[in-house]
């Protein structure tokens, strides 16, 4: 059986079919959107149980929004990414026990010793994830959506509720910070041979 048996249908069309009570649409949308919601939550939270909770909550909200969904109003994937992102940021703030200082968004990442000590992973992907985890949350969110989820800047702008220029600025600062954090790992992880 193909991974997504209804791959020729758009998310919006499937959501309309879901709202009309078509069980196949429920299955296809779960298979299509569930891994994406979980993947983003996992990259943001780095905790499987929390990522599952967040993705479940986002999917539940989607199913409940389905009957009132107006086709053409919003892209389903963008809406879902937005809900997942907001839920993740709520959890990240709660972990820290405080609110985010907006000034922190503009600050470049601080390659502090604690961050450097986290970069002890042997795998390249794990090293990247560890570096990402040291970024301010909005920078991390923008970089993950842009470079790991592969979204366009306008889509990220809609998800983060900011302008495209602000997205470009966040991702540029995030990349700069990552370069600083990962520079010392290049030789260790074999990138100087590339």
């Amino acid at each position: 059986m193909p991974y997504d048996a209804m791959s020729d249908r758009s998310d919006e069309s499937l959501l309309a079919a879901y709202a009309a009570g078509e069980p196949a649409a429920a299955r296809a949308l779960t298979l299509r959107l569930g891994p994406r919601a979980f993947g983003l939550a996992m990259r943001m939270l780095k905790d499987r149980a929390e990522a599952e909770d967040v993705a479940q909550e986002a999917l539940l909200r989607l199913w409940r929004a389905a009957p009132g969904w107006r086709e053409g109003e919003a892209k389903v994937s963008t809406w879902l990414y937005r809900v997942v992102s907001n839920l993740c940021i709520d959890r990240m703030r709660r972990r820290r026990g405080g609110t985010v200082d907006l000034d922190a968004i503009a600050e470049p990442a601080d390659p502090a010793p604690s961050a450097e000590s986290e970069l002890q992973e042997s795998a390249r992907g794990a090293a990247l994830q560890a570096a990402l985890d040291t970024l301010p949350e909005r920078q991390k969110q923008a970089v993950v959506l842009r470079h790991l989820e592969g979204l366009s800047n306008p889509e990220i702008a809609a998800i983060m509720d900011i302008g495209v220029r602000a997205v470009e600025s966040l991702t540029a600062r995030g990349r700069k910070a990552l370069e600083g954090l990962l520079r010392s790992r290049r030789a260790e992880l074999g990138y100087d041979d590339d």
């Binding site: 993705a55 390249r124 990247l128 994830q129």
Partner: protein, 125 residues
């Protein structure tokens, strides 16, 4: 330049790191996906009932009843044909027919009207 090319250009020296990150996309467990599918089905609205049009009883209007009283469409067709013929004769009388009501043939009028208006007055009609 495609979106992917643009993104690659942005990534620069970080491209290999991001490629490694994309290759290690976190995947959910099969159990979790099965639970999500069950939740989706549980939350799904009931299928919309297909609305079957209720047959309306045939309504007979006054015109339809009058038509039936006259004998239906065949009778109406005969009436229409007779009416059209009459109008045609009035508008363009066939040349082969005699002009029965010509004013110059007063006798013919008398022949057609055996009793005059005077006769009727005398009889008290």
């Amino acid at each position: 330049m495609t979106m992917t090319d643009k993104r690659k250009a942005e990534e620069g020296g970080l491209a290999p790191w991001f490629e490694a990150g994309r290759a290690e996309a976190p995947a959910p467990s099969g159990d979790w996906l099965a639970r999500m599918e069950a939740m989706a089905l549980e939350e799904q609205p009931a299928p919309r009932a297909v609305e079957v049009p209720v047959p309306q009883p045939a309504r007979r209007g006054r015109l339809r009843e009058m038509l039936a009283a006259l004998g239906g469409w065949p009778a109406m067709a005969g009436l229409a044909a007779a009416c059209a013929t009459g109008i045609w004769f009035g508008a363009a009388a066939p040349s082969g027919l005699p002009d029965w009501l010509s004013v110059s043939e007063g006798d013919a009028i008398t022949a057609l009207e055996p009793a005059s208006g005077f006769d009727y007055a005398m009889l008290g009609l």
